[in-house]
Symmetry: C2
Subunit: 352 residues, 2 copies
DNA sequence: CGAATGTGTGACAACGTTGTCAGGCATTTC
DNA sequence: GAAATGCCTGACAACGTTGTCACACATTCG
């Protein structure tokens, strides 16, 4: 790594104290309160005084101090939300983030985003931190399995909305994908193509969505009267590397599956890799839960049950806003539908 | 979308005023200041008093009010940074975000992230907003082409670090990829495979990194004595859809290129799609700038010049921290190296 | 013409916290 | 035994802003 240097931009002595309303008032020759009125666009200030204040503010490059304002204001709203995600860099999380941001922007709300990396303790730490920073709301894609600890925050007036996974031990608004129905749809798609030996590869059983998807798989198999073979069900598979291993082991079975339902996008990617390594990508059918970039450009293109994380984010943000304006509305669970996108890998028929 | 409702979680009357230090002090039977000392872990408080305070704080579920603390404290640090990205959901941006977050987390800093969507006005708005919220630092992946407007913020003591693209009109720390050298390396790779008709497909000429990459392409062609054909250079291509069109038009030329250098990841993805649609993916070589998910699983796997956005984010955050602790250090430009990853698409030899 | 009304402005206190300083008490020193 | 020292603790003001209230002045009304 190369580093080029030049003289410092701002020496210590060029740092000045930040101008306050008091400074603007002094320059404009008016009282503090009048400046406050002008800055907040309250009416009842004569035009010429307002103009004088505007000029003074511009001259000093005055920036209102929102932290001081928040402290004093009676509505006690900071126009700040905390967003707790699994990982800001993960495509699902960052799409949720984007959706939240779009709504927040219109409302003049700033969003703190943070990654929890599946660590329940970190979730609690972040909630405490954001609470100390007096966020108005928390949007949480939960990692913890017990959320009673949030009761205090809710009682303190923080709006809490869950996304992706439902909360446990607390009654709060929640936005989730129809995991069970979606997984059932994906599985049924494989059954309808003629498959009977359909493997399920899913995430930790401790993750509620992973369970829902597993239930959907079981539902569908039962509904079609197809047997679930225990050796074809692999759970607790969390990342792409583990998924590669898992699928490899499935293919090595005496009676390998003719189709695979991958219950999470990293698992789907791992499955693609493993199938390809085995040269089985055109022989074994694959349906994944959750869409991912380039799925349509792979060979074969990958059939998925797609979620709409951006819509989830937008809806969650809207719920937060409603909760903040009328906290007495009933708590609700919103289910965002998933969509099966056939692209090729899920339409491979079994060979007999 | 389905919505299930149940009775409200918290009625208006169950909302209580948030406990303050005063409440804790009253319950513990000590003064306000003693509570402050215990909360901030200052020493000089006897053990039994400290224990009493801890108990009272726990009983009331007291959360220190960081906004009030920030206002009063003399160092005037909010432990808050603003991160301005092109789009929080874009893989490059979100990886930078992740890198910044990792460093910020260790420092106890909370990060506001926001998307600018290539809108310079939005950049200025966000800077003003974050300045009002008294962030200690701004990390900017700039959209604007003129940053003199930031001089006031710097003078006010906000640390400013640029990532991905350098600033104009202001002297500030900056972390960039070696775009020019990286693009030259990618182009040279194609020349060394025997290609002479090498197309360049790049982003808006107004984007500095796009220009750097174009310069790298030109550098390499000149260095090898290979002619740049004007009809093979397509700039102002910004997204995947436009890239599909662009590559389609290149392939339709009387003398089409035998290789393509795609100067941005969305362009690379578009190129993959267009080549595939034309059945040319194994005939026309492709090297892309910037890695993307699944590039290794495509057919052929895509050769790229990879950036390391997470490292860029980490480095930027580290620079911010250094700048905040010693603002007199010289301003520096840090160049993070890119790496050519040969995967197949860039190693296709030309047919004569 | 005096009273009632309305309009614009500013003085002051308060939000929840921390920096400063002074005072109480126990211990040490001469 | 009085003075000096150290350790804890708390009273008070201040950070930058906004809510409340009162006052000065102009206007309208009986």
């Amino acid at each position: 790594m190369t580093t080029l240097s030049s003289p410092p931009a701002a020496t210590a002595e060029s740092l000045r104290a930040r101008p306050t309303m008091r400074d603007v008032a002094a320059l404009a020759g008016v009282s503090l309160k009048t400046v406050s009125r002008v800055v907040n666009r309250e009416d009842g200030v004569s035009e010429d005084l307002a103009a004088k204040v505007e000029r003074a503010a511009a001259q000093l490059d005055y920036r209102p101090n929102l932290t001081a304002s928040n402290l004093r204001r009676s509505d006690r709203k900071t126009a700040t939300w905390g967003l707790l995600l699994e990982d800001v860099a993960n495509p699902f999380s960052s799409a949720v983030h984007r959706g939240v941001e779009e709504v927040a922007r219109e409302l003049g709300v700033a969003v703190f985003a943070a990654s929890m990396d599946e660590d329940p303790e970190r979730e609690r730490e972040l909630v405490a931190t954001f609470s100390s920073r007096r966020v108005d709301a928390l949007i949480i894609a939960p990692t913890a399995t017990e959320h009673a600890y949030l009761a205090n925050e809710v009682r303190n007036g923080i709006a809490v909305v869950f996304v992706d996974r439902p909360p446990f031990g607390i009654d709060a608004d929640c936005v989730v994908t129809d995991n069970r129905a979606g997984a059932a749809a994906g599985t049924s798609h494989l059954v309808e193509c003629g498959h009977r030996r359909i493997a399920f590869v899913g995430d930790f059983a401790s993750i509620s969505t992973a369970n829902e998807r597993y239930q959907g798989y079981v539902d569908s198999m039962a509904a079609h009267g197809v047997q679930v073979h225990a050796e074809l069900v692999l759970r607790d598979v969390h990342d792409a590397t583990q998924a590669v291993e898992a699928v490899r082991s499935l293919l090595a079975l005496p009676e390998p599956p003719t189709a695979i339902f991958a219950a999470q996008n990293l698992i789907t990617m791992g499955a693609v890799e493993a199938l390809r390594d085995a040269g089985a990508q055109h022989r074994v059918a694959l349906v994944g839960f959750d869409d991912f970039a380039m799925a349509n450009l792979l060979d074969p293109a990958v059939t998925v049950v797609a979620q709409d994380p951006r819509a989830i984010g937008r809806l969650a943000a809207t719920l937060v806003n409603e909760r903040l304006s009328s906290s007495s509305a009933p708590v609700s669970v919103h289910v965002v539908p998933s969509v099966l996108i056939p692209r090729g890998s899920g339409e491979i028929a079994p060979r007999n």
